[in-house]
Assembly symmetry: C2
Homo-oligomer: 216 residues x 2
């Protein structure tokens, strides 16, 4: 079984924006991006992990939502996905990520940062804080994944770094039907990737267009 490097369930607007400037505790995706609006398609499904009431759809969007953990052995994320701080970890005793005591990863997670910090275990997720090139960090994550796949979790600039280094095997990008205009762009157009990837665009009744890429 090939060990894949995957971007999954990554959400952007119709103009490719996944986050914006001015990230803060109140605005984890920046002050111009409402993540609830970008994630709405997944939040409506029966398999959404944060669902508090029964119900939810069991159509196409549900397949993509419940596939999130399938055969994933490790995640790599940028520092800004882990928290809004910049510079050295002044408060690392206090800040343990956005996700509370039960982070939704359930695997080792490698947080890319130039600033050292001890590893942190919350339930069945352990965060390691690592400095290095994408290729170096991927080698570490692949080892930790023990043959399973590695997820590139984002944000936008982390996904772009791994695409630029040509280290990504598959991507699932959910493109919402509205423009954001300003912010951090994953791409100018999905066509940017067609030199290296096959692309299937699967429109969902929820309004999202699932873009599924895999290596040529």
């Amino acid at each position: 079984m090939t060990q894949l490097v995957k971007v999954q369930n990554f959400n952007v607007s119709s103009d490719g924006v996944g986050a914006s400037e001015n990230q803060s505790l109140e605005h984890p995706f920046g002050d111009a991006v409402d993540p609830g609006r970008l994630f709405a398609w997944a939040g409506a499904t029966a398999s959404w992990p944060n669902r508090t009431e029964p119900g939810g759809t069991r159509g196409l969007d549900d397949y993509l939502t419940r596939d999130f953990a399938h055969n994933i052995g490790a995640e790599i994320m940028g520092r800004n996905k882990f928290g809004p701080q910049r510079g050295p970890w002044a408060d690392h005793e206090e800040w343990q990520g956005w996700w509370g005591d039960e982070p939704p990863f359930h695997t080792p997670v490698f947080v890319m940062t130039h600033h050292q910090r001890p590893s942190l275990t919350l339930s069945d997720t352990t965060f390691h804080f690592v400095d290095g090139t994408p290729a170096e960090i991927l080698a570490e994550a692949k080892k930790a994944a023990q043959g399973k796949d590695v997820r590139i979790g984002g944000g936008v600039s982390t996904v772009r770094q791994f695409l630029d280094a040509d280290l990504v095997d598959t991507l699932h990008i959910a493109v919402s039907p509205f423009e954001l205009g300003t912010g951090l762009r994953l791409w100018d157009s999905p066509d940017d990737l067609l030199d290296r990837f096959h692309l299937e665009v699967v429109p969902s009744p929820s309004g999202v267009a699932h873009h599924l890429f895999w290596r040529k």
Copy 2:
């Protein structure tokens, strides 16, 4: 977590035919149905379990193929899915199903038959041969599934029995773009189920239309 009763990755022609008369060792789906043609969409994917060479697509059809085992704890199948014999099991020492030493189920499987036969374990699949109403057999399968979902594996008449008894929660039916004209029909039209189920029809670039049903 709800324990679901699911029909998954079940293939029919555009006119609803999933198998035909005159099942035999040479024609497990009957003499008018070529299963390779009905399954072609799944066989082209990277996740197809019988794949012998690397490669395969990683688009929509691959999501549906790799979801097959997700959270499934038991399968119920009709006797004709297990083998082409009719009447008492004269050859039960010899016939162990179509799948060789490594059946693709990896769970307990309940084979509906009026004819007694001892249980049979092949690798991590155990086949139990059971007589009873769909509701009775489902109760047994749910217990064996230990909280996971139960798959109704087919064939056509087994799926219809469970639909008639109103025991199915979700269905994924892959409808191929060709007619077969004659054979065992799952439905006259997918609309037959709309009184009880939501339906999303998701066309795949492979030509198949994935029909995803879930309870209203």
